[in-house]
């Protein structure tokens, strides 16, 4: 037991690296928030564009969504970070992480919103149009709110999964939780920083999961 504590909870290592890990937590947190907002926002816009039903909008959106969902995000991250500089375009680690994860989340969100929109009966659209609402007004006030509600459970899960992927930033020098704590582990020769990483992730995601449950309950309604 003593040995266990020494490996995973060495107090002096804990104290030494606590500020670094706390700082990294902030990085993970704001990266996660920005990615969720941008990814879901972009997904929503893409799903709306798709309702216009012109092939030159639909085709690129479908290709984007399928490619982004098919590729492992790490592959994209490496290509962006190590490949693009060869074309004279150098992006910082956090920016690459933001772009790639936002795109991936947007792809999933678009599909989720689109599934919700197509699940709506034609009657909902017709009720809107028959009362003089424009296509856009019907989309905004009638169709989207229902599609969003239908999509919330999958959306929440997807958003959490994507936020956890910020850990991939550790391979391109983003100072998020995993990067900071694994370099601390290497430096100190103690596993304690990894324990700290786990605690930090729990501190962020446990409340998030509880919030997700609440959201799901709040927005599910009997049909």
């Amino acid at each position: 037991m003593e040995r266990f504590l020494e490996v995973f909870f060495a107090p002096q290592v804990f104290a030494r690296y606590a500020p670094d890990v706390l700082y990294a937590m902030m990085t993970t947190l704001w990266l996660g928030l920005v990615i969720i907002l941008a990814g879901i926002g972009l997904g929503l816009v893409l799903a709306c564009l798709r309702t216009a039903q012109c092939w030159w909008l639909t085709l690129p959106i479908v290709i984007f969504a399928d490619v982004m969902r098919a590729l492992p995000p790490l592959v994209l991250i490496l290509i962006f970070y190590f490949g693009l500089p060869g074309l004279g375009l150098t992006l910082s680690g956090p920016l690459v992480l933001f772009i790639v994860l936002t795109a991936v989340l947007a792809a999933f969100a678009e599909e989720i919103f689109w599934a919700g929109l197509t699940a709506l009966t034609r009657g909902q659209w017709e009720a809107g149009r028959a009362t003089g609402l424009s296509f856009f007004q019907t989309l905004i006030h009638v169709a989207l709110p229902q599609a969003v509600r239908m999509g919330i459970p999958s959306l929440v899960n997807r958003a959490l999964a994507i936020t956890k992927m910020t850990a991939l930033g550790s391979v391109i020098g983003v100072k998020e939780i995993l990067a900071v704590s694994s370099s601390a582990q290497a430096m100190s020769g103690s596993a304690t920083p990894l324990t700290m990483a786990a605690l930090a992730y729990l501190a962020i995601f446990l409340p998030a999961v509880v919030l997700a449950r609440w959201l799901e309950r709040r927005f599910s309604w009997r049909v």
Partner: protein, 247 residues
């Protein structure tokens, strides 16, 4: 006087299939026209052409003397305010309260101020006997109540014509009466109405004219007594004996 609704030479094709062949129909102000006909005869399609929910292949639709076939899309949204439509499946918005259902198009399409829209919505809900359900969600209402809310939603926009497509077909028998009563009252107050329905009893009581459609044409029309009591066409007789025989 110009008819409130006039359908002239209306044709509609779905692909190669001709569903409506040259329909002509005039509906006078305050008149209740009752449309019957076998399944697939084009009743719904005709009704849906009257607000261009379905785009006619050719022909004209005049609402209060104005040909809505000439309207461009922005104009069309405004013209659709003149026709209220009630669907078989109600189609209330499930994510909004009853009150919001009745207010939405008032504020967004008619651009009424919120307070005025709310007053109007409460008036209309009162008229269909559901003012006490204003704060309820649609799913908490019975089918008959939902359909009355749908009628209130259409009425709140002050339409010139109300179009009903089998408004009671999805209802349990004991709920049909409440909806028919609202419709009867509405007509008694002078609303022009076109009603597609199988409620023959209602037609005898309330209709000014009965129109029998088959195969995309108007086969026969007249007063309820004429059409039900003394049909002139074989097809009408065959249809009536089938539906009354089934009852």
């Amino acid at each position: 006087m110009t008819p409130m609704l006039e359908i002239a030479g209306l044709e509609k094709n779905f692909g190669d299939v001709q569903v409506l062949r040259s329909i002509d129909l005039k509906v006078a102000r305050g008149e209740l026209v009752f449309v019957i006909g076998p399944s697939g005869s084009g009743k719904s399609t005709m009704l849906r052409c009257c607000n261009r929910l379905e785009e006619p292949t050719s022909g004209s639709i005049f609402i209060d003397g104005r040909n809505i076939m000439n309207a461009l899309s922005a104009d069309l949204n405004r013209l659709r305010l003149q026709t209220g439509m009630v669907f078989q499946g109600f189609h209330l918005y499930p994510h909004m309260t009853v009150l919001k259902n009745v207010m939405l198009a008032q504020t967004k399409a008619l651009k009424r101020p919120k307070a005025e829209a709310e007053t109007r919505a409460m008036d209309m809900l009162g008229r269909v006997g559901l003012a006490h359900k204003a704060k309820a969600m649609p799913t908490e209402l019975s089918g008959g109540q939902q359909q009355r809310v749908a009628i209130a939603r259409a009425l709140a926009l002050d339409p010139k014509v109300m179009l009903f497509d089998e408004p009671t077909s999805a209802l349990d028998p004991e709920l049909v009466g409440s909806v028919l009563k609202v419709m009867k009252d509405l007509n008694a107050e002078g609303m022009t109405m076109v009603v597609v329905s199988h409620e023959m009893g209602f037609a005898r009581e309330a209709a000014d004219r009965v129109v029998f459609m088959d195969g995309g044409v108007v086969v026969e029309q007249g007063t309820p007594d004429q059409v039900f009591g003394n049909p002139q066409q074989d097809r009408t007789r065959a249809f009536l004996s089938r539906v009354t025989g089934a009852e």
